[in-house]
């Protein structure tokens, strides 16, 4: 089982190195196969670890395997160690499983691209980094995986580096993630000062409330940056510049969910800092509303799905913030299924329409791509949380947990979640009806070409099919009121803080279903049957289109001042120091020399006077001293 976990971690890394070193000697397709195979091997390793853990009793399910000591500083040390416990195995299965499917899909999607090998090397690197993150046995290694995931994301978003917009988006993503890295590092410094260790265990130790709050805040900063929650969310929509499988894997299924994983993994410290946990839930709720609103006006197919990701992660943050850890993780898993499905189906559409992503040019694709239509429908229904699809089971239990959290705050979160459900139904089916229903648009009639029936076609079709099936049945693993194996599985790692009453569960289920269906109905009447018109409120439209002016605000507050300040420093301090210091040194030396030279008058009289007076002074001094 330990071997299984190590193989799971290292197999994608081996593939990445092999592809990098192989260079042009290997064919592009071979690189794709290698990367995909390594991910499937990783999945096999994860399954082996899972089976191994199943064989053990509840309390015994925590194994730490150390390779060697990675870093030391006096008495502090951290090892290169992986942790095999229910939570990490859960994430390993999701990451390697969904990852393998998406990398397989990429073989078809990226076919024909000039630099496929580079792409697959980066994808393998990403899968390795994400597995490192979830398998890390201590906080330092988790931060290492965290940073590497950010790096892979930069490399993949900027994959088409001839495009300035892609390069800029990649840099933005990395820098915002770096802000999160910095806050996490500060939290770690505090932990080292207080506990001299970064093992997961010390989070359970006793800390003063200030220390606990600061550590939790630092961790939350990292989580917020990685999961694109407000206020560090502006990088995610821009990240859609990358290829669609990248959006599916990194910006839907795995990397952006790392923040949720972090909170669940370090829940011990969040429980000591309840205000910060509440803050996490609050940010999640805010994000899910804001993202849902913005998604209503987006015209790029991928951006709608991106904002929907932001919104769904908001739900997970609400779940983790109120202490319903197993439910947050369950929603993470189902979300991975249906969101990756949606992205991949969208990818098929984009491919079929010669890389067009503007939904205003689409329409009536239902007849032209029927299987993709059904996949997209399944994904959309799962997203809105309609019974019996996956999202239904996971989302509603989070709402119930919010209600069980109690107090006005819990009800506020609950209400926000419900409104979010309405919005989800609205924007998801707005997208669905615009793209798939109606008559085929002029653009579609001109450019549409169907999928090929070869390796490329298979690699695009089968993963989508598998995920569609999972989106249908995947949710049945847990139905909170009646059976909850996920919760039991994760209980030893993260005991949930709240257990909602039955009536809370059923009420949330009923309301959420109702609101979801109403959202779908409204979307149908506007975009499907075209009975109503979209209300035109200019200022609202503009605000939503400008994404609540966050980008402009950040530009004004951070980027422009940084540039201004740097230029100011250069002109005001640096240039004087460099240029003037050299010149001044020379001038001053010359002036000093000139000053001294004035003693040389050239007149004998002066010199004699000098000698005479010095002798006189010396004589007096000697006489006195004697």
């Amino acid at each position: 089982m330990v071997y299984g976990a190590w193989i799971c971690l290292l197999s994608p890394l081996v593939a990445a190195c092999a592809i990098t070193l192989g260079g042009t000697r290997q064919s592009r397709r071979a690189a794709g196969y290698l990367a995909t195979a390594s991910c499937f091997v990783a999945f096999a390793g994860a399954v082996a670890a899972f089976i191994g853990l199943l064989g053990r009793q509840g309390g015994d399910r925590q194994i730490i395997s150390t390779a060697w000591t990675w870093i030391t500083g006096g008495s502090y040390q951290s090892g290169l160690q992986i942790l095999i416990d229910p939570l990490s195995v859960f994430m390993m299965l999701v990451v390697s499983g969904v990852g393998a499917l998406i990398v397989w899909y990429s073989i078809g999607y990226m076919d024909g691209d000039d630099e496929e090998r580079r792409y697959f090397a980066y994808m393998a690197l990403f899968v390795f980094s994400m597995l490192l993150l979830v398998q890390a046995g201590n906080l330092l290694l988790l931060l290492a995986g965290w940073g590497m995931v950010g790096l892979s994301s930069y490399l993949l978003i900027g994959y088409w580096h001839e495009r300035p917009s892609a390069v800029a988006a990649a840099k933005k993503a990395f820098v915002m993630n770096a802000i999160g890295d910095a806050t996490m590092a500060l939290a770690f410094f505090l932990l080292i000062q207080k506990g001299n260790s970064l093992e997961f265990g010390i989070l359970g130790g006793q800390f003063s409330s200030t220390v606990a709050n600061l550590v939790a805040l630092g961790l939350l900063g990292g989580a917020v940056a990685k999961s694109a929650q407000i206020p560090l969310h502006t990088w995610l929509p821009d990240a859609m510049e990358g290829p669609t499988p990248v959006s599916a894997l990194i910006h839907a299924a795995t990397m952006v969910t790392a923040g949720v994983y972090l909170i669940v993994r370090t829940h011990a410290i969040f429980e000591q800092a309840p205000k910060i946990a509440d803050l996490a839930a609050g940010l999640g709720a805010l994000t899910l509303l804001v993202a849902g609103l913005i998604a209503l006006v987006q015209v790029d197919i991928k951006r709608v799905i991106a904002y929907s990701t932001m919104s769904q992660i908001g739900y997970m943050f609400v779940g983790a913030g109120v202490g319903s850890y197993p439910n947050a993780m369950f929603h993470l898993m189902t979300h991975a299924f249906f969101k990756a499905l949606l992205f991949m189906a969208a990818g098929i559409v984009i491919h079929a329409l010669v890389n067009e992503q503007d939904i205003r040019k689409m329409g009536g694709l239902r007849q032209l791509a029927p299987k993709t239509y059904w996949a997209f429908l399944i994904g959309s229904l799962a997203l809105v949380g309609i019974f019996p699809f996956a999202g239904f089971f996971s989302k509603d239990s989070i709402l119930a947990a919010a209600m069980a959290h109690g107090g006005w705050y819990g009800y506020l979160l609950w209400a926000a979640g419900l409104i979010g459900t309405l919005l989800t139904g609205l924007y998801t089916f707005r997208l669905f009806f615009i793209v798939w229903w109606g008559e085929p648009s002029a653009f579609v009639r001109e450019h549409f070409h169907p999928l090929r029936r070869d390796v490329v076609g298979i690699s695009l079709a089968i993963p989508v099919g598998v995920l569609a099936v999972l989106s249908v049945v995947g949710g049945w693993i847990q139905f909170s009121p009646w059976w909850h194996p996920v919760e039991t599985w994760l209980q030893t790692v993260a005991e949930p803080l709240v257990s909602p009453e039955s009536w809370q569960e059923w009420l949330s289920i009923a309301l959420s279903l109702l609101l979801g269906l109403s959202g779908i109905a409204v979307a149908w009447s506007i975009y499907g049957a075209k009975r109503l018109a979209v209300p035109r409120i200019a200022w609202a439209q503009r605000t939503l289109e400008h994404k609540f002016w966050f980008d402009e605000a950040y530009d004004a507050v951070f980027y422009e001042p940084a540039v201004f300040f740097a230029n100011l420093l250069r002109r005001g301090i640096e240039e004087p120091i460099i240029s003037d210091s050299g010149r001044d040194l020379g001038d001053d030396t010359r002036d000093l020399g000139g000053l001294v030279a004035r003693a040389q008058t050239g007149l004998v009289r002066t010199y004699v006077l000098a000698i005479a007076s010095s002798v006189a002074v010396l004589a007096v001094v000697f006489v006195i001293v004697k």
Binding site: A597, T601, R605
Partner: protein, 105 residues
Amino acid sequence: MTALLGPEISWYLAVSGFLFATGALGVLLRRNPLIVLLSLEIMLNGGNLALIGFSRNLGDGGGQIFALAVMAVAASEVVVGLGLVVALNRKRVTLDVDRLNTLRG
């Protein structure tokens, strides 16, 4: 040694000091380089007198020998100095120490 004849040492020193002072004043206050050289000689001789006086007083012959050395040095220095003054005169340069300052820094 038998009893010393002549004035006491203080008289010699007084004359020596007087000569030295006169010479010093001459070096400082006169403008003609020849006079400056002359005053320099007077200073040297004042010093010589002091040396000889002490030599006689303390019975040490070294003072007189040193006085002879001083005279030798004075002679060589006068040769150089006079040579410079004669050269200056030949070049029709004003013989005024206050105006000879080409060696200024």
